[in-house]
Amino acid sequence: MNAAAAPAEALSLSLIGVPNCGKTALFNRLTGSRQKVANYPGVTVERKEGRFIGPATGRTYRLLDLPGAYSLEPTSLDEAIARDVVLGRHATEPPPDLLVCVVDATNLRLNLRLVLDLKRLGRPLIVALNMSDLARARGFHVDRAALERALGVPVVETVAVRPGGERELVEAIDRHDFSQRVGRIDPPTLTTADVVATQREVRRILDEVNYRVPARLAVLSRLDSLVLHPVGGPLLLAAILFLMFQAVFSWAELPMNGIEAGVAAVGEWIAGTLSEGPLRSLLVDGIVAGVGAVLVFLPQIVILFFFILVLEDSGYLPRAAFLLDRLMGKVGLSGRAFIPLLSSFACAVPGIMATRTIPSTRDRIATIMIAPLMTCSARLPVYALLIGAFIPMRSVGGIFNLQGLVLFALYVAGVLSAMLVAFVLKLTVMRGADRPLLMELPEYRTPNLRNLLLGLWERVRIFLQRVGGIILALMVVLWFLSSFPAPPPGATGPAIEYSIAGMLGRGLQYIFEPIGFNWQISIALVPGLAAREVAVGALGTVYSMSASGDDVAGALSPLIASTWSLATALSLLAWYVFAPQCLSTLAVVKRETNSWRYPLIMAGYLFALAYLASFVTYHTAVALGAGS
């Protein structure tokens, strides 16, 4: 059969494989930038489709990247979608003309049973033996030709991470005869004996093709015996986290001073160049003071993400999840919740989206509900500002610095309250038995320097984009609201007191006075709804606007240190541990749960907790004499 006789419309291919087999990398390699990402209708499983053209035949292929699945017997929404598409029973996907099953050559034992399940369906199948170069380099013995003979379907080697590593697969697809088409297939009914028989078949094939795996490196076993040790493991985890928070303060000091000086210089230059007028006020008080106040925290964010990326790349994270599983189980969470929760330290939004991999709906909702209690990176500037202003830089016990300790304590407070909330949920609305863990611990890898730098640059880019985009825009709006209407002639106080923002702040003060917030803080909380860091910038603007006369925007930190009481500062810190005000998080919860119920409950309980925590903190601090 030749190309001319092939159907005119694009041929549909489905890419399927077990999780972590390198399927998505191969998909990217095949389709390049010609991808469409959307969701399957009605559910929140990501649907990725791309196109490519066969070089030999000129045929257009429509390639669907299916969610990872261990087998055709689904235990999660992802796996159910993958099965339905493969069977041709999905409501909106056509039955695929050809299946491409990606298998990890370094883990054939786990991958081959899916191949056998698929082969049994009778739908045309090509096997992509992925990571074949890595397998050889690590001392695996994989015989492609023998595997092809044993399986009875085409097997090609691919290296998804290398340009050109997809060529043999493309050629095999181009050689495939698409005249045979298979429509809907009934779901296979596999009995106990079938499942065992399949697994035995896998072993038989592996023996037949002489698949040999290298012995595990002794050094890795020794590493695991420390990392997973019942006493040493948790100590190591605590030490790593501790070092991370210490570094955020001790390493960042120098670059932060540099940025601060730069911002001040820009402010002075503008003030000296422009004549007195609204534009000068907008640039100096609105933009430089507001944006500068946030920008200063860039070095601390880079340091935090340096640690997170190294931990992620090295394969340590699932091991940390193992160490914490007992604790998580006690409060009714599955150990799997650890990874979404850890993502939430960057931002709750991707964390909440990562809960899609949790099979049980109940576990998933519980994880979503507590995700915002993980201290996201947008809260770091607020913490850092307040800690820098109110907590002395002092060493404790000779090795720790007090500021790092306080930051560590704030992160711990977030985690502990998450545990508490999860526990309450378990006792009340989310009752039920513990669910299985069954988590794979991947081999250790040396973090790749290039990946690390790319990841860090990505973070820097995102931060600068936020600063230059939404934060800048909100600062300008806030400046406008704090400048108009202008004070009446003969007014004595600073202009902001007569402005819209000033009036708003005074109104909000009735709500926030009991927890020690002044009107400046009350104003800053409002734009903080859009992005938490904006609260810091807003304080910068508000204080800059309140400064009388020709004061150029000074650094914010000494200013609040001299005007707020310690009780107020601690109360604001407590508020931000819960920080109910993040619209993006609430929006994503609404979408992921497909109801208004959970975002409303979340906003309500976070606000209540934040208010309560701040109230207790403030009044305790005042009673202890920190009220002035």
């Binding site: 907008l282 939004v349 991707p350 936020r466 939404i470």
Partner: protein, 78 residues
């Protein structure tokens, strides 16, 4: 004269920032609805611009997050 110019520049900056912030904070579904209402004339420059906006809003809808692009990069990595 210069103060008049300053006022004009300030007005322009404030207005554009307000529009930008409002757009960024609107939920993606509402944005899409607005764009669909606008797209009647897709022939000239304005129409192409609307189409481009719609594409980016669709992406935002599937990636999940309006004001934080963190989500996007996170998913890309997986």
């Amino acid at each position: 004269m210069e103060s008049l110019l300053q006022s004009f520049a300030v007005g322009l900056i404030v207005l554009s920032c307000t529009v930008f912030a409002a757009w960024r904070l609107t939920p993606a579904a509402a944005k899409l609805k607005m764009l669909n209402a606008l797209s009647a004339d897709a022939s000239h420059f304005w129409g192409r611009w609307v189409a481009r906006l719609r594409k980016s809003v669709r992406e935002e809808l599937t990636h999940g997050c309006g004001s934080c692009s963190q989500a996007k990069s996170h998913l890309r990595k997986r």
